[in-house]
Amino acid sequence: MNAEGFLFLFAVVMAAVLLFSMVFFIIMFSDLECDYINPIDLCNKLNQFVLPEHLAHGFLFLMFLVNGSWMALLINTPLAAWHVNKIMNNRHMYDATEIFRTLPQHKKESFIKLGFYLLCFFYYLYRMILGLLQEKW
């Protein structure tokens, strides 16, 4: 198996993990809306996952860069920039005192990211298969 195949195999797994993390975020947000969880617990829980999520995505981004997968890199650039921007402005953590005011935004963001990871997942899968097929030829 060649490097590209390996890289995209890894990317598929990562995309799946990120996908699940987004589903988890969305479930937590709807729990908050239904009053199953209080905002302090919610924020404590979610904030543990924010940086790992950003790091995972950043790592994947870096791998594409190292490998020179320009197309994949291009697709991921906007989200990576968005994450960096949030961290620079110190807006990446969820704030328990503001959460109800910002909840619609958070939900929207999570849904968009969910969709994005889903698309990426299939793209990586396609590239992985492509990579594996190339090797056989």
């Binding site: 908050l32 809306e33 009053d35 209080n38 905002p39 302090i40 328990a96 005192t97 109800f100």
Partner: protein, 754 residues
Amino acid sequence: MRSRRVYSRYFSLRQSSVAQSPYANSDPKYKRCTINAIPQTTALLNKCKIPFGLLITPYRHLLAGEEPVPVINPPQIVRCRRCRTYINPWVQFVEQDTRWKCNLCFLTNEVPTFFDWDPETRAHVDRRRRPELTHATVEFVAPQEYMVRPPQPVVFLFVIDVSYSAVQSGMLATAARTILDTLDAIPNADNRTKIGFITVDSTLHFYNLNPNLTEPQMLVVSDLDETFLPMPYDLLVTLSESREVIDKLMERIGDMFKNTQIVQSVLGRALQAAHKMIHAIGGKIIVLQSTLPNQNEGALKAREDPKLLGTPKEVTLLQPQTGFYKNFAVSCSPTQVSIDIFLFSPQYADVATLSGCAKFTGGSVYYYPAFNASRPEDALKFANEFSHFLSRPIGLEAVMRVRASKGIRMTAFHGNFFLRSTDLLSLPNVSPDNSYAVEMTLVENLTTSLACFQTALLHTSSNGERRIRVLTLAIPVTSNLGDVFASADQFALAAILSKKAVERALTSKIEDARDALTYKLNEIMGAYKSSFTTSGQSVQLLLPDNLKLLPLLTLGMLKNIAFRQASTIPSDLRSFVMAILYVFPPELCVVQCHPRFWSIHNLAPQIGLPGQDGQITFPPLLNLCSDKLDRTGIFLLENGVEIFIWVGRAASPDLVKMLFDKPNYDQIVAGKTTLPTLQNDYSSRINNLIGKIREVRIQMATCYPHLYVVKEDGDPALRMWFLTQLIEDRMDAMPSYPQFLGVLREQMGKISAA
């Protein structure tokens, strides 16, 4: 205050409440809505542009002559099965009065038998006499189901700064004296009240107050790497048992630190220790801080930068510089710990950052810039406020929920609390001073003729009982836009707009807050104009009578210290005024933005004396413009937190003599003063007026206003300060009232009439 039309509407409303009682609808002092005829459809609400909101002051301190809230102890608390609404005067009895129909969700519920039958006396009782059906504001004694634990005792934990500036300014001594004098008045009905002390400089000092000790024992903790209590018990003691030891500590504490040279403060660590001490019970942490916390956790920088003032960057000074205090407050909230802060800094105090502690725990902020206890006025103000603060009844471990008729939804809340779920406010302590604003919207069209709003405040009262205070407000629904405008409450509107503006200023820029205020005014007036005028009237500014003051109130807000365009307002002061506007009840928001102004050199005979209702009679109010100032006159002005007496250069020497006990105008000392109480009619009447203002302010907002004497040709800074209160005048870049109206008229001219 309200137009006659709305009153008559209330009157006709009363007939439709079950008991037809005069108390069936909420007193506007407890709860008022910005509009008193709710639009039936979302389209109508959007068309009128008037913000739809409630202002609730659930736990307000009763003023002289007011009826207390009826307390009832029914065998069972009657609530709607579905929406959990408490039974109230606006429900309907149906099916031969055997069931009641909820006025919020319209479900029918069974009426319990004790409503008609008293099992103890074995007699029939009239349900229409029950307080929950006759009064809009009632307090239920809550049974076991409403408790997650036995009601907590009142807990006061003092965290007192004992650094150099706290001792030198006399804050420590005044505070100790006041605590000592107030110990008897602290709520302690069931002898369970607990008290503790921590003093802070570069180390933490705890006090062992075991009742068996003859002397309090001080325990110094200088290892501050982690939060640590030197002993597990006896730091927080029952007031009644350890009274003597506490008395001794308070008598001595001033001397203990009198030679201190320490200028550091580790407030952050002290707060964590304080929280550790009371987190199992909950209660109040009372912080008295004079030095800027500058070491260890939560250290702050003196970041005041005069170059930023008046620029768009100014807002960075109004936002917290660290998240520590806010995060700390968030961790206090679930443990029912509330924090109140008294700040005395001679220099920068960072009100913006430290007030975060109070904001999210239902507490309050008190600010005494350049406090110096050797000035009797400063000491008196602090002692009065602190003493009222300690002795007033408070609610503990509370939650507040606002419910409204089907179709109405809450969208935002303003005030000092932590929002625990979409409509549940968590209030570790309920301060009687704090008011809460709720913004609402219509999500579907209303089908009934009455819209109801019910606020329930579940709390532990300071006598150790679990209670639910229920406030119900009923407002008719209308399909007529004219009714909506004619019933709008301009004072409630001004209050809610000012609270929204504070939030806007802090999240974006002060300029944006000002723009939002003007924009809203334009929008409301534009909506009125385009709906109710014909093209011929387009040159005039038209508003219904009950909204006539809205432009003036808006101008007052634009010129208020909180929002004014100026480069000379210290950020501490601006932060403080924003913090108080955010929690003030509507009456005080209005007075803060539009001060009350009287001439007092030409008093009519009954002014300053108790009238027929026993209340002091005030002179007629004057417009807030300097044309009214007369060089032969003496004027009184009050804005809720300060009182000014302006003396004209040619003021009558007789009056000057009678009021100030000085032979002529030149001898009067300008500035912060206390008026002498002299044996003459004039002096006693003016003192009555000032006394009355102070009495009401201390009860409404725990504020004892300073009195400033301003001389016509005196200290320019003081004179300027006084003149900025006259909001109808031009002020630097800010327009005068006629100019403001001119601009408004121009803008309205662009809107074509319908």
